[in-house]
Every structure is written in C-alpha cells, then in structure tokens.
Amino acid sequence: MLEEHSSGDAGDTLLEIRELRVTYSPAKAKPVRALDGVSLEVRSGEVIGILGESGCGKSTLANSALQSLPSNAKIESGEILFKNRDLLYLRERELTSMRGREISLIPQDPALALNPVMTVGAQISEVLRAHLPLKAGQRKERVHQLLQEMGFERPAEIYRAYPHQLSGGQRQRIVIAQAISCGPALIFADEPTSKLDALLQMEVVELLCAIRVRHGTAMVVISHDPMLLAGFADRIAVMYAGRIVEIGKCAEMMERPMHPYTQALMRIAKASSIAEGDRKGRFPTIEGEVFDPAMLRTGCSFEPRCQERMEACLHNDPPKRAPEAERLVSCFQYDK
C-alpha cells in the first residue's frame, strides 16, 4: 500500500484499491489467480500508467474497478474505495448509475466496442441518456459538441455514420467521446492504442492529454509499451503475474528503474527507439515466456526470467520496500 502523501502537486485520493485478489474459474480448467494482492491509489486529476505484458492482470484491474468482470471471475478479498465508498458493497443499480458518469472505461478494441447496427451519434447519445436529464434535442447538441472536441470537423456527418463507415482512429475517438460524455472523474483506458498504427497512436495520446488538461480527469492508462506511457503519465505502476512489482514517478521510473523486470522492459523500449536503434542489430530481451498464471509456484514469479536471481527468490515472496519517496518495489535486492 502507498502511504506517502508528501508530494504537493497531486490531489485527494479518488480511487483506492487495497489488497485486491481476483480469481478466474474457467469451465474446463484450473482456477487462475489474475490479481494477487494489488494495492493502488489514484489521486484526482492524476494519470497513472499501468505497464505489463499480456496475462499480468492489468485488464482485470480495470474491470474490477468498474465491477464489470466476467461471470467466471470472483473477487476473493480486498477493497475498492471510490470517493470513500467501497464499490464491492454497492448494489447493481448504484453501480450502473456510477459507470460512465463517475468512472468510465475506454475499451481495447474500438472495432468491437461499437454496436454495428446503430449510428455512432446514437451510441454516444445513449450514454448521455443513461445519466443526464436532457431532452433529445439537447442530447444531440451535446453529442455534436463532443464530436467537435474529439477533432471531427463535420460532426453532423459523423453523427449519422455507422461504425463500419469509419476508420480505426475515428472509431477510437467515438469510444473516447462516449467515455468522457458525462464528465467522469476517472477514466480507465485499456490498451487504447494497441490496434492502431503509429501515427494514429500519437493522435489518440494527444487527445487523451487534451482531455486531461481541459477536464482534469484522472486516468489509468494500461499498456505494454513504456514509451506510450512515458509521454503523459504522472506515475507508472509495473505489473507482473497479478502483482504490482514496482510503482513510482514517471520520470524516475524511466531513468532509474529498480525492479529487474522494469529495468529489462526499459532496456527493450529504449533499444527500439529511433535515437539508439538506428543500427541493425539484436535487441536486448527478457528471455523466457510471459508468466502463465495457471502455473503455481512459490517465491518470486519473475525469478525464472530474472538475471539477478538470488537464493531467497526461489522460496519467498519478495517484500514491498520503499527505497525512496514515492517509490515501491518488490524485490529482494532492496530488502535491507
């Protein structure tokens, strides 16, 4: 858990997740623990980047916060406090009125996240209708404003378009318009750019930056690419095998990563950047496979792939330590 509140620039605590444990029980396989004691604090107006590979539990984290986990997932223990209310004890009706109005989720694949037989204007309007007491005309006007804010030059045309008539980047902006339509205090973005090409990725990141500046919305941005988060996150949390292994301020995480996994990720990311990678040659990598949560093991989950493993890593869970202010890291190296 994070205890330090020393920094002056961040606001009050908006969302606090405490020791969250989530297990999936697929129909024909062994149960899998997706989140294993995750604690995270999001302050109002802050952007947190969640960095991790597939299967590390980062999407589960977002879905837990919105209480929209699939039916075979179970929250075993923990608390999710949003504005000091524990979401785990809210009734379905209260959750429904909260989703989209207070916490929103930008889904991963905008091509799948939009209804194929409804105009995109109507789909944005539907979100407004669910939360705000507006008349049809007012809603339409508000949708046009939102579309303009999303950078569409002819909102009226876009309003009447169906999803298949739009490009991938345009669809992503429609989904973002849905997410911000009711002015939520917190937005989760689950790999918002993974299906887009490099040019469009930057457009979406810039759009999210602009929204954050204009509305002061707090964001939790999930990605596997450190470079994407580096541009605009205030803090970065690195997840591995259902746990947050390191969290700290963005600049410090980028320049001085402490956990061996973070260090390796940053090495790869820097190697594939233009500045250093203009020569043909091998990449630094993390050997081994991405952690398979179905495999039970004792000790540190990253140990099999770690270059700096010690005897202790094999048997015990690494403890959380705070070697400096605003930084937590789970590794025996810092256990002194």
Partner: protein
C-alpha cells in the same frame, strides 16, 4: 446491380431450376394417368393414344418443358387431366386455404416464440431458461405427424373442436360472424400443430442469437458506460440479434409450407396438400408440377421478404459490406 436486384434475379433462377427438376423427377416416376384406362377393356388403345396426344403427353420431355415454360410465363400452368380444368385457377383456390393456414400459424409461432426466446436468453443459465430449453428439445425431437395424430386423438375423443375440412355442413346458412368462428374452429387444430413445430425452431434460434449478441464485446463496453440492462437488451441487443432471426424467417416459411402439406392431409384441410397428394397418386402430371411450383413460389417469396427486411435492419448490408467491420 444492388443487393435486392441480385436477390430477385436469384429467386427467378431458382424458380426455373425448381420447375426443371419437377419436370425431370415427375417424368422419371413410373406410371402415367392413363395406366388404369389401359387395364379397362372398354377403352380402346386408340382412345388413350388420342387422349395422350390431346394433352401433349406423347411429346418428348424437352418439348413439353419448353411449351410449359412459354405458357407459364403467361400465367398458364397447364391442364389437369383428372379435374378437366386449367391448373392455375384450381391451384389458386386451394393455395388460398394453405396460405390462410400457414400465415396464421406463422404469426402465432412468431408472436409467441420471439418474446419467449428473448426472455429465455435474458434469463440465461437460470432454472426457467433450462426448463424451456429441455421442453423445446423435446418438441424438436418429436415429428409433427406424431403431434398431429396425438392432438387429433384428443380432439376426436373429447369432441372439443370441429374436425375435418374447413367448414361445417351448415356453413352457408350461418351469419358472417358465425362463419368466422366456424372456420376458426376448424383451423385451430392444424394451426396449433404447425405453430408448435415451427415455433420451437424459432424459439431456439431467437434465444441463440440474442445470447450471442448479449455476449458481444460492445455489450460489455456499453455496460461499462452505465447503460442499464433493460435498455441494453431492447435498444442495443435486439436490433443486432434481429439479423439472424430475420434470415430464419425464410427457412421457417419453407418449413411451414412443407409441414402444412402434411398436416392438411392429416386434418382434411382443403389446401394444396391433399390436392398434390391426389394428383401425385393419379399421375396428374401438370397438376403435380403446378402444385410444387406454387409451394416453391411461397418459399421464394418468403426468402425475398426476409432479404428486404434484412436490408432495412442492417446498415452493413445496405452499404454492401460483406461482413462485420
């Protein structure tokens, strides 16, 4: 050419194909209308030959098919030997009854099955959903003839309903209102049998397509924007689920018509069913072909209606997008 144009051309080609197959198969079937006459010593072979010539049955198949096609294009479907009248008016008088039966059965089946299917999908996994699932499997497993016979047995034993034919003997003396009830009473049994068989299939399809739409990623996304379950089901999911259900409409009509031919025979309903059966047994060549073409026509028109509805329901088909984005 646009989507509907292509569908229309396809429908016409289909009709031509069906008629060709009808000709070929009817020709292959052994025997002819005049077989019985040949056994009759009082009718001379010369008379039979001249009769055959009169009806054009002595011509080779290809020539007959060509002539028939030319005539059919002008609405003349040939001449019935047994009834000694042109086929078209005869068929039409019976087809009206078949249509009445199938349309009423269809409306009943859809009106009951669609809400039931949507409801079962919304209740997915609960006790009531499982119960309706088991019941529908049961209905699906039992052939319609068994239903027909079972219901008939009940009706005949307890005399709840008028049975056999379409009208009571004193029909002509009744008031308009009483006539309506008389026909409705006679109809109830065959309609029930048909609707039960058809409705089960519709129920299962509607339930499956609503379930599939409910599990689509866009539903999860919409839920995370705080759109309520009920609103989601009616405003978002049903239009998506409508596509597969509409495609089913054409199939369902085809099933209903072929089912109807059978049920009409069992219940003595004066529709196309008994007519085609009699015509087949007596080898009344043009009547058989006409009857088959008529029922094929119903199916094709049904499919065409389904295609038109699909265009209205799905913007992707309107724009000619082959698949989802």
């Amino acid at each position: 050419m646009n989507y509907l144009g292509r569908r229309l051309v396809r429908a016409i080609l289909l009709l031509v194909g069906v008629s060709a197959l009808c000709f070929a198969f009817t020709e292959m079937a052994p025997g002819s209308f005049f077989d019985e006459m040949r056994l009759n010593p009082q009718i001379s072979p010369a008379t039979i030959t001249s009769l055959e010539e009169h009806y054009g049955l002595n011509q080779p198949l290809f020539v007959r098919y060509e002539r028939w096609m030319q005539a059919a294009a002008h609405g003349d479907f040939g001449y019935s030997i047994a009834y000694n009248t042109p086929v078209a008016p005869l068929l039409w008088s019976r087809a009206k009854n078949t249509l009445l039966l199938t349309i009423v059965a269809m409306l009943l089946a859809w009106l009951i099955s669609v809400p039931l299917g949507v409801w079962a999908a919304a209740q997915h996994g609960r006790m009531l959903d499982k119960m309706t699932g088991v019941t529908s499997s049961l209905f699906l497993a039992v052939p319609e003839v068994v239903f027909a016979v079972a219901l008939l047995a009940i009706v005949v034993r307890w005399r709840i309903l008028p049975f056999g034919g379409m009208k009571s003997a004193d029909f002509d003396g009744l008031s308009t209102w009483a006539r309506f009830w008389d026909v409705a009473g006679h109809m109830l049994l065959p309609v029930l049998i048909l609707a039960l068989a058809d409705g089960t299939i519709i129920f299962r399809h509607v339930r499956a397509s609503v379930l599939e739409a409910l599990e689509a990623p866009f539903v999860r996304a919409s839920r995370s924007f705080g759109i309520s379950r009920t609103r989601l089901l009616f405003r978002h999911v049903l239009p998506v689920a409508a596509g597969p259900a509409i495609s089913l409409f054409g199939f369902s009509l085809a099933g209903l018509i072929s089912g109807s031919l059978l049920v009409e025979v069992v219940c003595g309903w004066p529709g196309l069913g008994p007519l085609i059966l009699d015509a087949t047994l007596s080898r009344d060549f043009y009547l058989v072909i006409g009857g088959l073409i008529f029922s094929a026509l119903f199916m094709i028109v049904g499919n065409l209606i389904a295609d038109i509805m699909l265009v209205v329901a799905d913007p992707r088909i309107r724009a000619g997008v082959p698949d989802a984005p």
